[in-house]
Subunit: 385 residues, 2 copies
Amino acid sequence: MIYMDNAATSWPKPNSVYTKVLKTMKKYGANPGRSSHTMAVEAANIILYGREMLCQLFNISDPFRMIFTFNTTDSLNLAIKGILKEGDHVVTTSMEHNSVIRPLMHLADFGIETTIVPADSQGLIDPKDIEKSIKPNTRLIVTTHASNVTGTLLPIEEIGAIARNYGMYYLLDAAQTAGCLAMDLSKLPVDLVAMPGHKGLLGPQGTGVLYIREGIELKQIREGGTGSLSESIYQPDLMPDRYESGTLNTPGIAGLGAGVEYILNYGQEKITKHIANLEKLFINAFSQIEGVRIYGPTNMKQRTGIISINIWDRDSREIVNILSQKYNIATRGSLHCSPLAHDTIGTKEQGTVRFSPGIYTTLDEVKTCIKAVGEISRKIKIRSI
Amino acid sequence: MIYMDNAATSWPKPNSVYTKVLKTMKKYGANPGRSSHTMAVEAANIILYGREMLCQLFNISDPFRMIFTFNTTDSLNLAIKGILKEGDHVVTTSMEHNSVIRPLMHLADFGIETTIVPADSQGLIDPKDIEKSIKPNTRLIVTTHASNVTGTLLPIEEIGAIARNYGMYYLLDAAQTAGCLAMDLSKLPVDLVAMPGHKGLLGPQGTGVLYIREGIELKQIREGGTGSLSESIYQPDLMPDRYESGTLNTPGIAGLGAGVEYILNYGQEKITKHIANLEKLFINAFSQIEGVRIYGPTNMKQRTGIISINIWDRDSREIVNILSQKYNIATRGSLHCSPLAHDTIGTKEQGTVRFSPGIYTTLDEVKTCIKAVGEISRKIKIRSI
């Protein structure tokens, strides 16, 4: 099978990830941070190692600012609900995933107002539009780093500078970029960064991360046992315990640590370049196939890792099924949980067929995909599909 | 190493659990429910299989009433916050884990009042005391099935009958019993059951379950992408999607499915009996060692799977360290995240040393533990430790 669905979950993982997950379950299977026996201490060390790897990749010194969550959605809910209160206003964009939009729509019932800044038809956001949307009660700007539909990169440095300038928080949804693009969190003007463990960071599913900049306190969204201050019936204020109630996913975090270690050894820049090269190949080839429409920016510098297309007027799900069944190529169709992005680019009915290459995608695999799309397009034209 | 910390996380797991986790990561590593390509469908089937195994074990017909969460704490937060609203009153007990007590204390700031029914010094709860605590605005009774400190079983059938009688909801925290004791959820008068995947159910960490009885609707605690109704910017009402936003822990759930399958094949009753036998052996032997104080019920029928002791007046953490370092025995000391239970049994300062045998614990291991405790107790008496 040719796997082109890395924007949903990266696959395969480095061998070291599989090995580390298995070893952790078999040899360090105790509960981290809950006792002082040898295996519990070893489990706790695995968790700390995961935090340290993330700190190294994102250039952060305090591992306790890296919070482990269930997934990016969990991270985003913690960040959004943790920072906002009744009467606040939020600025976001039309390129967001439902993991940002749905919590914000939910909060509308609790007196929190949202402005959705529209992108242009390539998914591009003008930072000036963000600035114009700011109100006296704006507390938070939240944007994705790159659209999961079009791959459009958002101008996060400019948006962050605006947030700093106006004294508000900037939450970055790095679902499509963490582990794919270099990010120096010691320099970037972002305050909160939500990341999946199971996409670019090459860890297993069931892992998410929220980076919380020093000095920021959030309300927690879960209270429970933390293995710390057990004498208290109130949630402790300690970092990272306040936000990590209950038993963590130790094998998952072990795998995530191994995934990040792999990126550090392999080189973030090399990964970025590899994916950018494949993306360019896709875009160049698709733009020459009759009947194929490519979405997102035409300027390669404004996009990353995701190639969304449609073939003639066919429903994207139909194309995904043909690609899977006839060509053994795994892509994703429909709306990718981002309805506003499809409103923006005009594909709410058709959806898009999304190709998302990964670290292990080969040139030959991309060529096979291109050939398949060409064939499908020709067959649709002569109505033989 | 002799592992006596199964009440925190069961270890080791059946081999089929390791194999299933690894196979899922390697062969079915796509995102479940997010696309129609073969591997995504296979991943979705694994999730469904996990639900079906749980349904079989707990005698439930609708797999979509079994919600997958991050851990028991996540399940309890969803159940508690999902059902309560301002002005409500909750009845709980002094034997609860902080995963129940801390959310309730948090909700006190939002106009939700809690009555904590005290247990006796063995951790026993009189259902009449629960009934007496009911007020006109009581919406929920929440209790543990068995104390994680003393192993005391709570009279859940009687408590559930009271809840039914008064028309209120009963949330059961089955952290210590799911997979250890038979539970027929088609008959038990419980409405919501929170369970860990990684304890008695023999799955990996990073997995939790919430059973939601037919007809009960909760407010969700996380909004986000669900792979369903993607055209909507509002959280869908569908089961189980409403409560499962974001990418699930597919490898973890695969392992949990394998763990439950193992229990079904091995026999729940056989597991219950095995652990009960080891418990009896522990209790009988410990009661004959000078200086050892055993907590919890003296009647074996009122307790399950957990043996908490202290040796003379020594801090439980000191004993845990000696057991780990000198005898290579893994136990847990201190308060086990249940401060009120320690208030109840009078061990808030000392904590308790907890032995929790599991499905793979052998008679010989128990004997070694008993011998070690005897030796430690004698050495403390003659002040050579």
